[in-house]
């Protein structure tokens, strides 16, 4: 078995001897098994072995980075030397203070399912077939989709003594169902993901996509109007993801985020609280350490409507002179960026049915991402899976409609959050209702 940490240390040694002042390395090794579904059958099975090393070197704060897909000592040394040389070709950056010092996490996490680490493709095919059968709630439904699982090992090593290694597993099932009757088309997708086999339910995924695609037959166009919009669990989560993406401290420091100047300010009503929590056992995006080897934590990003913090890595935290909240994300192919992990949105006291019942006229966005531009905050996109709400009832599916607005206005107009939610390992996504949204049709 390849010793990932030893390989990382060899790359660091090479970079330091080439003149780099600080160095860190990410080494990963992964196996993926995937099943591709087309028209209710198995189209293809595949197995992929992906591994690589990425070395980041600093010289007077300038960054050099080099990666390779070879995990042998020579390639690691070559990547280390290249990264150091390139760091010297970058320019000094006085805002760079230091890579993180080693710090042991005060907790451990379960992220690996032994059963999944050794699963055979035949078992995934069986489960995929159960999903296909469940999706066929009507004979004429076309079932496409897939299933995939992975096992990985990852090491983060730096020249200040950080040496952390982790392993994990994951599995996901997805279905895309289409039904055609004459010129009329209904479609819907659903997925489920987890780190353990027992956390996913392929039959539920198939059934949900199959049943819901039928509901999209007979879609009608809507008029251009300002209306109330109920965002189902996933569209609601996509709105919140847009806020978390803009909370990237590097974007804020570079002044290219709509959250510049909003720290400590009210950006949403009191009913909205959002946590980013990377410390949940078997959480989809959990890890003990972030992409720079700093222990993860539970971060309150929005507290009762107030923006409490930006998401940092070591560079941005040092520059802002604040505590690093460990949001560096990283693969071997590039230098670390900043990202969020598991997202938990506070539950409200409305039932989902009440939210619909108390909407005289509106739109229910059932699925599809509604995303804001991270610079301008502009939201302008199609409603791909929506229904018209009339007199407190979901009346009919819609087509050809667009939603327009600005994320900060949309957040300010949130007036209800549901008690029901979509639970994914680590994530909690309730439905969210927003007043006064411009819909074009």
């Amino acid at each position: 078995m390849v010793d990932l940490i030893e390989l990382g240390k060899k790359a660091i040694k090479a970079a330091i001897s080439e003149g780099a002042e600080q160095v860190d390395v990410c080494v990963t090794l992964a196996r993926f098994v995937a099943v591709n579904i087309e028209k209710g059958g198995i189209k293809l099975c595949d197995t992929t072995y992906d591994h690589g090393i990425g070395v980041r070197a600093y010289f007077k704060g300038g960054m050099g980075f080099s990666s390779s897909q070879r995990l042998d000592v020579d390639s690691a040394i070559r990547a280390g030397i290249r990264a150091a040389k390139q760091a010297k070709q970058a320019q000094p950056d006085p805002d760079f203070v230091s890579l993180p010092e080693p710090k042991k996490a005060p907790f451990t996490l379960e992220l690996c399912d032994k059963e999944l680490a050794e699963i055979e493709v035949e078992r995934i095919v069986e489960l995929a077939c159960e999903m296909i059968d469940a999706a066929k709630v009507s004979k004429d439904i076309i079932v496409n989709g897939g299933a995939s699982c992975y096992y990985y090992r990852r090491a983060i090593v730096n020249s200040l003594g950080v040496e952390v290694e982790s392993e994990g597993t994951g599995i996901s099932f997805s279905t895309f169902c289409i039904v055609r009757r004459g010129d009329d088309v209904g479609s819907y997708y659903e997925w489920d993901a987890g780190r353990r086999l027992k956390d996913v339910d392929p039959v539920k995924v198939g059934k949900k996509a199959g049943e819901t695609c039928l509901k999209f037959l007979g879609a009608k166009k809507v008029e251009t109007k300002t209306m109330t919009v109920v965002f189902n669990f996933l569209p609601a989560s996509s709105l919140i993801f847009s806020v978390l993406a803009a909370a990237n401290a590097e974007s804020v420091q570079r002044k290219r985020s709509f959250l510049v100047g909003k720290l400590g300010k009210k950006i949403a009503p009191e009913i909205l609280t959002v946590y980013d929590d990377g410390t949940i056992n078997y959480g989809l995006r959990s890890s003990v350490y972030d992409g720079e080897g700093v222990p993860k934590r539970r971060i309150c990003v929005i507290d009762k409507g107030i923006l409490k913090t930006y998401l940092h890595n070591s560079y941005t935290a040092n520059k802002a002179k604040v505590e690093n909240n460990a949001c560096a994300v990283r693969g071997y192919g590039g230098p670390p960026g900043i990202g969020f992990s598991n997202v938990q949105i506070s539950l409200g006291d409305w039932s989902f049915d009440e939210m619909i019942e108390e909407t005289k006229e509106g739109i229910f966005i059932s699925a599809g991402g509604i995303v804001a531009d991270s610079v301008t905050g502009s939201v302008s996109t199609s409603i791909d899976f929506g229904f018209k709400i009339e007199n407190g009832e979901i009346a009919y599916p819609i087509k050809g409609a667009l939603i327009g607005g600005n994320i900060l206005e949309i957040l300010a107009n949130i007036d209800a959050i549901s008690k029901e939610y979509r639970e994914e390992p680590g994530n909690v996504f309730p439905a969210i209702r927003v007043k006064n949204v411009k819909i074009a049709g």
């Binding site: 198995i42 099975c45 992929t48």
Partner: protein, 465 residues
């Protein structure tokens, strides 16, 4: 390498007697520089290198990939691909097939004028710093500037059981300017890109055309632009937005894998009217220097100029070896893979609407109220419904035949077949203006697009007033 690949492949063909088997080796060396707020703060190099194998056995497909090209690992992925095909065979609804094409043996390198590796890194950094400085100095309201440069050399070798042995080398260079402006609470952005299957001449062209300053100009002007209105309008699209529209609204639907999986609205439309008679849509991978160009696809099939729609009538789809065999059509070299870690799938190359005979002034003069959309940004489509969305950076109201106030953050969307039938004017100009990446099934791919200016009636525009 080819001899090693052929030897190993033949051994496994002998062992498994597949209907089809191939082995592909891919290597990419890339180099990037990011200049930000006055500093070259990142210099990066990456090396991707590995192999993948496909096997079609008893009508079932298997695929396997690894970041290695050793004999041992080539054998490992061939045997894994065969094992995966066996697993697939448990539940196939349609047998896989491959078109029996004439094998190709070739070794090609797409020509470039200035090899990027011949320019010293110091000289590149020096040149980029100068450009970025001009951006920062353009206007006091500019708060962030990013200049990104990337060059890469791909080498792909395809060896298959039909006898094909193709080695292809492609150099790509791209440079982009990104600017953020701020005034009061308003933030706006501007982006310009130049890219091609070319060398450092891409940078020279970017500078000559002052593209970095165009990004600045747009970001500054957008600060005082109006919010767009919502509703149905006549729209005039510039060549970059035409490239985006034809790619999203139509191109993805013409990919034959979508046709076969039931995810295309065009599956029963061959030979039928799908657009206004003014519309001819072409996908052409043979345009020298264009970002989506190549000589051979990732199955070793020669790319070509494909006329998808002629005067509004659907004529062809984009094919892989499998989709062509299943639909009993001719392969046209459209199967491309994002490195060795992914299997080839049907992709567009450079997709455009062919020019017509309208002048821009004629197009605009009888528009009472409409929107002129310039500078495409992003788009996507749900092909099964033919429902697309396009987002543009810069737009203008048209009133009584004249361009009026500037609008920001305009999106328009609709249903492909309805929208393309409402094209009532196609310009005589032509620019292959779009250069970017297209995402499909998890894979990224280099594509180009464009056309002339076109005019479409009754398009839904998503606005805020």
């Amino acid at each position: 390498m080819i001899d090693l690949m052929r030897g190993v492949l033949d051994k496994y063909i002998e062992k498994y007697r597949p209907e089809f088997m191939d082995l592909r080796v891919f290597k990419r060396l890339s180099f990037s520089v990011v200049i930000q707020d006055g500093k070259a703060d990142k210099v990066l190099s990456r090396e991707l290198w590995g192999a993948c194998a496909r096997a079609l056995i008893d009508g079932a497909w298997g695929f396997s990939a690894i970041n290695s090209t050793s004999r041992e690992d080539l054998e490992r992925i061939l045997s894994e691909a065969a094992r995966m095909a066996k697993a697939s065979s448990k539940r196939i609804t349609e047998r896989g097939v491959v078109a029996k094409v004439k094998p190709v043996v070739d070794d090609v390198e797409l020509p470039v004028k200035i090899k990027p590796e011949n320019i010293a890194i110091e000289d590149k950094v020096h040149e980029f710093l100068k450009i970025e400085e001009e951006m920062r100095k353009y206007d006091a309201r500019i708060v962030n500037t990013v200049l990104s440069y990337n060059d890469s050399v791909d080498e792909e070798i395809v060896v298959n059981s039909l006898g094909t042995e193709v080695r292809q080398k492609i150099t790509r260079t791209s440079i982009s300017a990104f600017v953020v402006t701020k005034e009061g609470e308003i933030l706006q952005r501007g982006t310009e890109v130049e890219a091609g299957t070319q060398g450092y001449e891409v940078v020279k062209r970017f500078i000559k055309e002052n593209k970095h300053l165009k990004a600045c100009e747009r970001a500054v002007k957008l600060l005082s632009a109006e919010k767009p209105p919502a509703g149905k309008f006549t729209v005039i699209l510039d060549p970059s937005v035409v490239g985006l529209l034809v790619h999203e609204a139509f191109g993805h639907n013409s990919e034959a894998d979508h046709v076969l999986s039931g995810e295309s609205i065009l599956s029963d439309k061959l030979g039928k009217r799908v657009a206004s008679p003014l519309v001819t849509i072409i996908d052409d991978s043979t345009i020298e220097g264009a970002y989506g160009s190549y000589k051979y696809d990732s199955e070793g099939t020669p790319g070509r100029k494909r006329v998808i729609v002629k005067n509004g009538i659907l004529k062809d789809f984009l094919h892989s070896l499998e989709t062509a065999a299943k639909l009993n059509m001719e392969p046209n070299g459209s199967a491309r893979a994002d490195t060795h870690l992914w299997r080839p799938i049907v992709r567009m190359s450079n997709t455009y609407i062919a020019p017509g005979d309208w002048k821009f002034e004629e197009m605009i003069e009888d528009v009472k109220e409409g929107i002129y959309c310039k500078a495409s940004r992003w788009g996507y489509v749900f092909t099964e419904k033919g429902q697309f969305t396009c987002n543009v950076d810069e737009s203008y109201m048209i009133r009584n035949g004249e361009l009026r106030e500037m609008l920001r953050n305009v999106s328009f969307g609709g249903l492909t077949l309805e929208t393309l039938k409402k094209v009532d004017a196609v310009g005589r100009d032509f620019v292959l203006a779009d250069k970017g990446m297209c995402g499909k099934a998890g894979q990224g791919m280099f594509v180009g697009g464009g056309g002339p200016h076109i005019r479409i009636k009754e398009v839904v525009v998503g606005g805020r007033r």
